[in-house]
């Protein structure tokens, strides 16, 4: 019997991660199954699906769509045998634009809603492996915390009934490696691509880096610059700002681990 190939080992790591989350493990997914693409999730009633898909099309840096399920389906081409309502570590259920519950399993919410259309959206965790391979420390992975995310003063382009600000994730990068981080992440446009902003948090309307709107704060060491990437929590900001009647999303930092190698989104 021959040893499993690298791609078989990768897929097995993805399957195993999803199985742990389905069994109830709740933990941020940065650094999990390195080499596999991770995805943000938002599920909306069929009646809101066009507005959302258009919102994503008009705001591709924040909302790069990787897959969309058929109405009522919980299967995705991104991960064989996966259930988008159960295989994410932590879900948020939203009513009238407000957080109604955080649950480790959203099957009941999906079943009650009936015809949800689920959108899987690129996540910057995907290019963290190439950053690390280039010798750039990813602070929240090194420290075992969730990535810090911030609401910004940048409005997204509205679509139908949806509007809201861009959300960004932040990673402190040594000044001498910022250009490398931009080039490396820029090769992955489907998972947010290059930074949208480097340094100057005030320019994004961020008053205090130590108080992120989502996730955990991270250390910024002397000689490091805060670097901001568009973030797939942007749809949740739209749910809030637009008072969407009903939605299910992942909890920030708790992503859907796919079977798709990072390299598939490399340009």
């Amino acid at each position: 019997m021959s040893a499993p190939s690298k791609s078989e080992l990768l897929r097995e790591a993805g399957r195993a991660a999803r199985a742990r989350y389905r069994a109830g493990l709740v933990r941020p997914t940065a650094g999990v199954a390195p080499g596999l693409t991770q995805a943000n999730m938002i599920a909306l009633p069929r009646d809101w699906a066009f507005d959302f898909l258009l919102y994503a099309q008009r705001n591709p840096r924040s909302c790069p769509v990787l897959d969309v399920t058929d109405p009522g389906s919980r299967a995705t081409v991104l991960a064989e045998g996966a259930d988008v309502a159960r295989d994410i570590p932590l879900y948020r259920v939203w009513r009238d634009g407000a957080l109604a519950a955080e649950v480790p399993d959203a099957a009941a919410a999906f079943e009650a809603a009936g015809d949800l259309v689920t959108f899987l959206i690129g996540c910057s965790f995907t290019f963290e492996t190439p950053l690390q391979e280039a010798g750039i420390e990813v602070r929240h992975i090194a420290d075992g915390t969730n990535v810090p995310m911030y609401l910004t003063n940048r409005p997204c382009r509205p679509a139908g009934r949806l509007q809201g600000p861009m959300v960004v994730s932040m990673r402190p990068i040594p000044a001498g490696r910022v250009a490398d981080a931009a080039l490396i992440s820029g090769r992955f446009p489907a998972v947010h691509g290059a930074p949208v902003h480097v340094g100057d948090p005030a320019g994004l309307g961020i008053a205090d880096l130590a108080r992120p709107d989502f996730g955990d704060p991270v250390r910024v060491e002397p000689g490091e610059v805060p670097v901001f990437w568009a973030c797939g929590v942007t749809p949740q900001a739209a749910v809030m700002a637009s008072r969407v009647p009903f939605a299910v999303t992942h909890a920030p930092g708790h992503m859907f681990v796919t079977d798709v190698p990072d390299a598939a989104y490399h340009v």
Copy 2:
């Protein structure tokens, strides 16, 4: 008074081209306003818009969406002051999946339909300027004909009520420049990107290069290889295959000339 900048001259070339088409000129647009992005167009009733946007999302090589209008609107962010129902040289009106009319002005068809949503989709004419700048002859421009386009045996991924085959455009490229053509076009994923197939027309189900399904045949000289790119006529193949009740599209090869420089879609 200072001389106009290069970008002002470019925008003026786009405006002038659209004005000629609005005034009634009917002619393929390859080679027109070089340096500006050109777009395929399909307008569908509001009720079909989600199915189509999902079809595009699931088939991004063929249907890279550059802009989507609000229902009933004929304005686009891609070209200031443009009218998507009048500024394309030639339109096709479709009923029940069959070509009902070719008209140089679709304003009446838009007004009768009322709530059309218009999709503007990337066009490979956009990377022909960089190909030419690299010394690669674009045969249909050199010969003053329309690009040849073919229905293939490759099914697109269906979405809702929409299904159909991928359509490709073909350019003969000298064998020693095929890799260059792949690299150059590959830098423009929003306008179809790299070729989907090189050589071997039979592999795409194309029986005879001299008989394209759309556009004109071109000379293939000794030492040249037929190179195939995904084509924005793919939505028209879906209209036919899915018997869509009503649609307006551009006529193949007769594109919407935008104000957006090619460089905006360079990665």
